[in-house]
Assembly symmetry: C2
Homo-oligomer: 199 residues x 2
Protein backbone atom coordinates (compact mmCIF):
# COMPACT_ATOMS: atom_id res chain seq x y z
CA UNK A 1 0.00 0.00 0.00
CA UNK A 2 1.17 3.53 -0.53
CA UNK A 3 -0.33 6.94 0.19
CA UNK A 4 -1.19 9.58 -2.37
CA UNK A 5 -1.33 13.08 -0.98
CA UNK A 6 -4.35 15.30 -1.37
CA UNK A 7 -4.98 18.94 -0.54
CA UNK A 8 -5.84 19.39 3.16
CA UNK A 9 -9.62 19.30 3.66
CA UNK A 10 -12.40 18.09 5.91
CA UNK A 11 -11.96 14.40 5.21
CA UNK A 12 -12.49 12.99 8.72
CA UNK A 13 -15.03 10.18 8.21
CA UNK A 14 -17.48 8.99 9.28
CA UNK A 15 -18.82 11.94 11.25
CA UNK A 16 -22.12 12.25 13.09
CA UNK A 17 -24.95 14.06 11.36
CA UNK A 18 -27.55 15.72 13.55
CA UNK A 19 -30.38 18.21 13.33
CA UNK A 20 -29.59 21.18 15.54
CA UNK A 21 -32.75 22.78 16.91
CA UNK A 22 -32.58 26.22 18.45
CA UNK A 23 -34.69 29.25 19.26
CA UNK A 24 -34.84 32.80 20.57
CA UNK A 25 -37.90 34.85 21.46
CA UNK A 26 -40.64 33.83 19.02
CA UNK A 27 -38.33 32.11 16.51
CA UNK A 28 -37.37 28.46 16.40
CA UNK A 29 -35.31 26.80 13.69
CA UNK A 30 -33.59 23.58 12.64
CA UNK A 31 -30.28 23.25 10.84
CA UNK A 32 -28.23 20.19 9.97
CA UNK A 33 -24.66 19.79 11.16
CA UNK A 34 -21.94 17.22 10.60
CA UNK A 35 -19.20 19.35 12.15
CA UNK A 36 -20.20 18.16 15.60
CA UNK A 37 -18.50 15.87 18.12
CA UNK A 38 -18.07 14.84 21.72
CA UNK A 39 -15.27 16.86 23.35
CA UNK A 40 -15.47 15.96 27.05
CA UNK A 41 -16.83 13.16 29.23
CA UNK A 42 -17.15 14.77 32.69
CA UNK A 43 -19.05 17.01 32.43
CA UNK A 44 -20.39 15.73 29.09
CA UNK A 45 -19.76 18.30 26.37
CA UNK A 46 -20.10 18.54 22.59
CA UNK A 47 -18.83 20.91 19.95
CA UNK A 48 -20.93 22.15 17.06
CA UNK A 49 -19.53 24.45 14.39
CA UNK A 50 -21.85 26.84 12.55
CA UNK A 51 -21.14 29.35 9.78
CA UNK A 52 -21.87 32.86 11.13
CA UNK A 53 -24.13 33.72 8.18
CA UNK A 54 -26.53 30.89 9.04
CA UNK A 55 -29.76 32.00 10.65
CA UNK A 56 -29.28 29.46 13.41
CA UNK A 57 -25.96 31.05 14.37
CA UNK A 58 -27.69 34.12 15.78
CA UNK A 59 -30.32 32.04 17.57
CA UNK A 60 -27.69 29.91 19.34
CA UNK A 61 -25.44 32.91 19.99
CA UNK A 62 -28.22 34.96 21.60
CA UNK A 63 -30.04 32.18 23.49
CA UNK A 64 -26.94 30.29 24.64
CA UNK A 65 -28.77 27.02 23.94
CA UNK A 66 -29.05 24.31 21.30
CA UNK A 67 -30.33 20.77 20.98
CA UNK A 68 -28.68 17.98 18.97
CA UNK A 69 -31.32 15.65 17.53
CA UNK A 70 -29.98 12.27 16.37
CA UNK A 71 -30.90 11.12 12.88
CA UNK A 72 -32.42 7.77 11.94
CA UNK A 73 -32.56 6.32 8.42
CA UNK A 74 -36.22 7.34 8.33
CA UNK A 75 -35.28 11.00 8.98
CA UNK A 76 -32.30 11.21 6.60
CA UNK A 77 -34.15 12.90 3.75
CA UNK A 78 -35.69 15.54 6.04
CA UNK A 79 -32.28 16.04 7.64
CA UNK A 80 -30.80 16.75 4.22
CA UNK A 81 -33.66 19.18 3.54
CA UNK A 82 -32.92 21.02 6.81
CA UNK A 83 -29.30 21.27 5.65
CA UNK A 84 -29.98 22.90 2.28
CA UNK A 85 -32.89 25.23 3.13
CA UNK A 86 -32.72 28.35 5.31
CA UNK A 87 -35.08 29.13 8.16
CA UNK A 88 -35.06 32.73 6.90
CA UNK A 89 -37.11 31.57 3.90
CA UNK A 90 -39.26 28.72 5.17
CA UNK A 91 -40.56 27.20 8.38
CA UNK A 92 -38.74 23.87 8.42
CA UNK A 93 -40.83 22.55 11.30
CA UNK A 94 -43.95 22.83 9.16
CA UNK A 95 -42.22 21.75 5.95
CA UNK A 96 -40.95 18.54 7.61
CA UNK A 97 -43.97 17.84 9.79
CA UNK A 98 -41.82 18.19 12.91
CA UNK A 99 -43.24 19.10 16.33
CA UNK A 100 -41.24 21.15 18.86
CA UNK A 101 -40.75 19.26 22.12
CA UNK A 102 -40.29 21.50 25.16
CA UNK A 103 -37.05 20.67 26.99
CA UNK A 104 -37.46 21.42 30.68
CA UNK A 105 -33.78 22.30 31.20
CA UNK A 106 -33.79 24.95 28.43
CA UNK A 107 -35.63 28.24 27.97
CA UNK A 108 -35.74 28.70 24.20
CA UNK A 109 -34.48 25.71 22.21
CA UNK A 110 -36.97 22.87 21.67
CA UNK A 111 -36.08 19.30 20.71
CA UNK A 112 -37.65 17.62 17.66
CA UNK A 113 -40.40 15.30 18.94
CA UNK A 114 -39.87 12.91 15.99
CA UNK A 115 -36.13 12.35 16.59
CA UNK A 116 -35.02 9.04 18.15
CA UNK A 117 -33.02 10.92 20.79
CA UNK A 118 -31.95 14.44 21.70
CA UNK A 119 -29.08 16.04 23.64
CA UNK A 120 -30.01 19.43 25.13
CA UNK A 121 -26.99 21.73 25.56
CA UNK A 122 -26.09 25.04 27.18
CA UNK A 123 -23.32 27.03 25.49
CA UNK A 124 -20.16 27.34 27.58
CA UNK A 125 -17.93 28.96 24.96
CA UNK A 126 -17.86 30.25 21.41
CA UNK A 127 -14.76 30.52 19.26
CA UNK A 128 -14.22 31.89 15.76
CA UNK A 129 -12.07 29.40 13.82
CA UNK A 130 -12.32 30.96 10.35
CA UNK A 131 -15.23 29.77 8.25
CA UNK A 132 -17.12 28.47 11.29
CA UNK A 133 -17.88 29.48 14.86
CA UNK A 134 -17.31 26.55 17.20
CA UNK A 135 -19.71 26.37 20.12
CA UNK A 136 -18.87 24.16 23.08
CA UNK A 137 -22.03 23.05 24.85
CA UNK A 138 -22.55 21.18 28.08
CA UNK A 139 -25.16 18.45 27.77
CA UNK A 140 -27.77 19.19 30.45
CA UNK A 141 -30.57 16.85 29.44
CA UNK A 142 -31.01 13.79 27.23
CA UNK A 143 -34.21 12.24 25.93
CA UNK A 144 -34.57 8.86 24.23
CA UNK A 145 -37.69 7.41 22.66
CA UNK A 146 -39.30 4.66 24.71
CA UNK A 147 -38.67 1.98 22.09
CA UNK A 148 -34.88 2.39 22.55
CA UNK A 149 -35.07 1.13 26.13
CA UNK A 150 -34.60 -2.49 27.01
CA UNK A 151 -35.92 -4.18 30.13
CA UNK A 152 -33.62 -3.34 33.01
CA UNK A 153 -33.08 0.26 31.90
CA UNK A 154 -30.37 -0.41 29.30
CA UNK A 155 -30.34 1.64 26.12
CA UNK A 156 -30.26 -0.19 22.77
CA UNK A 157 -29.15 2.45 20.27
CA UNK A 158 -29.21 -0.12 17.44
CA UNK A 159 -32.99 0.28 17.45
CA UNK A 160 -32.52 3.96 16.57
CA UNK A 161 -31.16 2.91 13.13
CA UNK A 162 -28.80 5.88 13.09
CA UNK A 163 -27.11 7.43 10.07
CA UNK A 164 -23.53 8.74 9.73
CA UNK A 165 -22.13 11.29 7.30
CA UNK A 166 -19.23 10.26 5.14
CA UNK A 167 -17.57 12.55 2.58
CA UNK A 168 -20.83 14.19 1.51
CA UNK A 169 -23.06 11.13 1.82
CA UNK A 170 -25.60 9.84 4.35
CA UNK A 171 -24.69 6.32 5.38
CA UNK A 172 -26.69 3.95 7.62
CA UNK A 173 -24.93 1.63 10.05
CA UNK A 174 -24.47 -2.12 9.84
CA UNK A 175 -24.68 -4.42 12.84
CA UNK A 176 -21.95 -3.71 15.41
CA UNK A 177 -18.81 -5.85 15.05
CA UNK A 178 -17.23 -5.40 18.48
CA UNK A 179 -17.44 -3.63 21.81
CA UNK A 180 -14.88 -1.46 23.61
CA UNK A 181 -12.31 -3.91 24.99
CA UNK A 182 -13.25 -6.84 22.74
CA UNK A 183 -9.68 -7.20 21.48
CA UNK A 184 -8.48 -8.22 24.95
CA UNK A 185 -11.63 -9.91 26.38
CA UNK A 186 -11.35 -13.43 27.78
CA UNK A 187 -13.04 -16.09 25.58
CA UNK A 188 -16.10 -16.56 27.85
CA UNK A 189 -16.63 -12.80 28.26
CA UNK A 190 -16.12 -12.27 24.53
CA UNK A 191 -18.72 -14.88 23.62
CA UNK A 192 -21.33 -13.56 26.07
CA UNK A 193 -20.83 -9.90 25.20
CA UNK A 194 -20.84 -10.51 21.43
CA UNK A 195 -24.10 -12.45 21.79
CA UNK A 196 -25.64 -9.64 23.88
CA UNK A 197 -24.40 -7.05 21.40
CA UNK A 198 -26.04 -8.76 18.46
CA UNK A 199 -29.17 -9.81 20.35
CA UNK B 1 -43.58 8.38 20.46
CA UNK B 2 -42.49 9.88 23.73
CA UNK B 3 -39.13 10.65 25.29
CA UNK B 4 -37.74 9.14 28.48
CA UNK B 5 -35.10 11.23 30.15
CA UNK B 6 -31.67 9.88 31.01
CA UNK B 7 -28.77 11.33 32.96
CA UNK B 8 -26.65 13.66 30.76
CA UNK B 9 -23.78 11.73 29.17
CA UNK B 10 -21.73 11.30 26.03
CA UNK B 11 -24.49 9.83 23.91
CA UNK B 12 -23.80 11.60 20.60
CA UNK B 13 -23.78 8.77 18.03
CA UNK B 14 -22.37 7.67 15.71
CA UNK B 15 -18.98 9.29 16.21
CA UNK B 16 -15.78 8.76 14.26
CA UNK B 17 -13.20 6.39 15.69
CA UNK B 18 -9.58 6.99 14.74
CA UNK B 19 -6.10 5.95 15.75
CA UNK B 20 -4.17 9.04 16.85
CA UNK B 21 -0.46 8.67 16.15
CA UNK B 22 1.99 11.03 17.78
CA UNK B 23 5.60 11.37 18.80
CA UNK B 24 8.27 13.42 20.55
CA UNK B 25 12.04 12.93 20.52
CA UNK B 26 12.64 9.17 20.35
CA UNK B 27 9.09 8.14 21.36
CA UNK B 28 6.17 7.42 19.07
CA UNK B 29 2.78 6.14 20.17
CA UNK B 30 -0.74 5.32 19.02
CA UNK B 31 -3.98 5.89 20.94
CA UNK B 32 -7.58 5.45 19.92
CA UNK B 33 -10.04 8.33 20.07
CA UNK B 34 -13.74 8.70 19.44
CA UNK B 35 -13.96 12.18 20.97
CA UNK B 36 -12.83 13.70 17.68
CA UNK B 37 -14.61 15.79 15.07
CA UNK B 38 -14.36 18.32 12.29
CA UNK B 39 -14.67 21.86 13.69
CA UNK B 40 -13.83 24.15 10.76
CA UNK B 41 -13.81 23.99 6.95
CA UNK B 42 -11.48 26.84 5.93
CA UNK B 43 -8.83 26.26 7.10
CA UNK B 44 -9.72 22.60 7.73
CA UNK B 45 -9.54 21.84 11.46
CA UNK B 46 -10.38 18.98 13.78
CA UNK B 47 -10.75 18.59 17.52
CA UNK B 48 -9.42 15.65 19.47
CA UNK B 49 -9.93 15.29 23.22
CA UNK B 50 -7.41 13.36 25.30
CA UNK B 51 -7.32 12.60 29.03
CA UNK B 52 -4.24 14.32 30.54
CA UNK B 53 -3.04 11.09 32.19
CA UNK B 54 -2.72 9.36 28.82
CA UNK B 55 0.86 8.98 27.62
CA UNK B 56 -0.12 10.42 24.25
CA UNK B 57 -1.30 13.63 25.92
CA UNK B 58 2.28 14.66 26.74
CA UNK B 59 3.54 13.69 23.29
CA UNK B 60 0.91 15.84 21.54
CA UNK B 61 1.28 18.67 24.05
CA UNK B 62 5.06 18.86 23.67
CA UNK B 63 5.35 18.22 19.92
CA UNK B 64 2.32 20.28 18.86
CA UNK B 65 1.48 17.59 16.31
CA UNK B 66 -0.80 14.59 15.83
CA UNK B 67 -2.09 12.42 13.03
CA UNK B 68 -5.62 11.01 12.75
CA UNK B 69 -5.56 7.61 11.06
CA UNK B 70 -8.94 6.45 9.73
CA UNK B 71 -10.12 2.96 10.69
CA UNK B 72 -11.31 0.25 8.31
CA UNK B 73 -13.22 -2.88 9.34
CA UNK B 74 -9.97 -4.79 8.94
CA UNK B 75 -8.27 -2.54 11.51
CA UNK B 76 -11.09 -2.42 14.08
CA UNK B 77 -9.65 -5.04 16.42
CA UNK B 78 -6.19 -3.42 16.45
CA UNK B 79 -7.87 -0.05 16.98
CA UNK B 80 -9.64 -1.41 20.03
CA UNK B 81 -6.32 -2.81 21.28
CA UNK B 82 -4.70 0.64 20.89
CA UNK B 83 -7.59 2.04 22.95
CA UNK B 84 -7.20 -0.28 25.94
CA UNK B 85 -3.40 -0.63 26.18
CA UNK B 86 -0.95 2.10 27.20
CA UNK B 87 2.19 3.01 25.28
CA UNK B 88 3.91 3.31 28.66
CA UNK B 89 3.71 -0.50 28.93
CA UNK B 90 4.01 -1.80 25.40
CA UNK B 91 5.11 -0.75 21.94
CA UNK B 92 1.78 -0.72 20.10
CA UNK B 93 3.48 -0.32 16.71
CA UNK B 94 5.22 -3.67 17.17
CA UNK B 95 2.26 -5.35 18.89
CA UNK B 96 -0.05 -4.42 15.98
CA UNK B 97 2.46 -4.86 13.17
CA UNK B 98 2.12 -1.20 12.23
CA UNK B 99 4.81 0.74 10.37
CA UNK B 100 5.42 4.46 11.01
CA UNK B 101 4.99 6.50 7.82
CA UNK B 102 6.99 9.76 7.77
CA UNK B 103 4.71 12.75 7.14
CA UNK B 104 6.68 15.44 5.33
CA UNK B 105 4.67 18.32 6.86
CA UNK B 106 5.38 17.18 10.44
CA UNK B 107 8.55 16.84 12.51
CA UNK B 108 7.67 14.17 15.09
CA UNK B 109 4.30 12.47 14.52
CA UNK B 110 4.25 9.64 11.97
CA UNK B 111 1.14 8.29 10.23
CA UNK B 112 0.28 4.57 10.33
CA UNK B 113 1.32 3.08 6.97
CA UNK B 114 -1.45 0.45 7.19
CA UNK B 115 -4.33 2.96 7.63
CA UNK B 116 -6.62 3.65 4.66
CA UNK B 117 -6.09 7.40 5.09
CA UNK B 118 -4.47 9.87 7.45
CA UNK B 119 -4.97 13.53 8.39
CA UNK B 120 -1.78 15.19 9.67
CA UNK B 121 -2.46 18.07 12.07
CA UNK B 122 -0.61 20.90 13.79
CA UNK B 123 -2.00 21.97 17.16
CA UNK B 124 -3.44 25.49 17.17
CA UNK B 125 -4.96 25.46 20.66
CA UNK B 126 -5.39 23.35 23.76
CA UNK B 127 -8.21 23.73 26.26
CA UNK B 128 -8.91 21.95 29.55
CA UNK B 129 -12.61 21.00 29.61
CA UNK B 130 -12.64 18.86 32.74
CA UNK B 131 -11.90 15.17 32.20
CA UNK B 132 -10.30 15.83 28.81
CA UNK B 133 -7.97 18.31 27.15
CA UNK B 134 -9.38 19.39 23.79
CA UNK B 135 -6.78 20.00 21.10
CA UNK B 136 -7.75 21.94 17.99
CA UNK B 137 -5.53 20.96 15.08
CA UNK B 138 -5.20 22.38 11.61
CA UNK B 139 -5.03 19.69 8.94
CA UNK B 140 -1.80 20.33 7.02
CA UNK B 141 -1.49 17.14 5.00
CA UNK B 142 -3.73 14.25 3.97
CA UNK B 143 -2.75 10.87 2.56
CA UNK B 144 -5.06 8.29 1.01
CA UNK B 145 -4.16 4.79 -0.12
CA UNK B 146 -3.97 4.41 -3.88
CA UNK B 147 -6.90 1.99 -4.03
CA UNK B 148 -9.27 4.74 -2.77
CA UNK B 149 -8.72 6.82 -5.91
CA UNK B 150 -10.93 6.52 -8.92
CA UNK B 151 -9.96 7.46 -12.46
CA UNK B 152 -10.21 11.21 -12.81
CA UNK B 153 -8.84 11.93 -9.35
CA UNK B 154 -12.07 11.41 -7.41
CA UNK B 155 -11.89 9.79 -3.98
CA UNK B 156 -14.11 6.79 -3.27
CA UNK B 157 -14.17 6.51 0.53
CA UNK B 158 -16.60 3.56 0.33
CA UNK B 159 -13.59 1.45 -0.64
CA UNK B 160 -12.01 2.30 2.73
CA UNK B 161 -14.75 0.26 4.48
CA UNK B 162 -14.72 2.65 7.45
CA UNK B 163 -16.01 1.98 10.93
CA UNK B 164 -17.96 4.30 13.26
CA UNK B 165 -18.25 4.22 17.05
CA UNK B 166 -21.68 4.03 18.55
CA UNK B 167 -22.36 3.92 22.29
CA UNK B 168 -19.36 1.73 23.08
CA UNK B 169 -19.45 -0.39 19.93
CA UNK B 170 -17.54 -0.49 16.64
CA UNK B 171 -19.98 -0.36 13.74
CA UNK B 172 -19.19 -0.74 10.02
CA UNK B 173 -21.08 1.33 7.45
CA UNK B 174 -23.73 0.20 4.99
CA UNK B 175 -23.97 1.49 1.44
CA UNK B 176 -24.69 5.24 1.32
CA UNK B 177 -28.39 6.16 0.99
CA UNK B 178 -28.16 9.74 -0.24
CA UNK B 179 -25.85 12.63 -1.01
CA UNK B 180 -25.83 16.19 0.34
CA UNK B 181 -28.72 17.94 -1.45
CA UNK B 182 -30.55 14.75 -2.54
CA UNK B 183 -33.76 15.85 -0.88
CA UNK B 184 -34.13 18.77 -3.31
CA UNK B 185 -32.37 17.36 -6.42
CA UNK B 186 -34.22 17.38 -9.74
CA UNK B 187 -35.31 13.88 -10.89
CA UNK B 188 -32.63 13.52 -13.60
CA UNK B 189 -29.85 14.76 -11.31
CA UNK B 190 -31.11 12.54 -8.49
CA UNK B 191 -31.08 9.45 -10.70
CA UNK B 192 -27.60 10.11 -12.07
CA UNK B 193 -26.04 10.99 -8.73
CA UNK B 194 -27.62 8.04 -6.90
CA UNK B 195 -26.28 5.72 -9.59
CA UNK B 196 -22.79 7.23 -9.33
CA UNK B 197 -22.93 7.05 -5.53
CA UNK B 198 -23.73 3.33 -5.55
CA UNK B 199 -21.46 2.49 -8.49
Amino acid sequence: MSFLQVKPGTLLSPTPVVMVSCGMDEHINIMTAAWVGTVNSTPPMVSVSIRPNRWSYGLVHRSGEFVLNLVSRELAQKTDYCGVKSGRDINKWEACGFTPHKVSALTYAPAIAQAPAFLACKVVSEQDLGSHIMFIGEIVDIGLQEHLWEDGGKIDLKKADLVAYCHGEYVPLEEPMGFFGYSVAKPDVLERRMREMRG
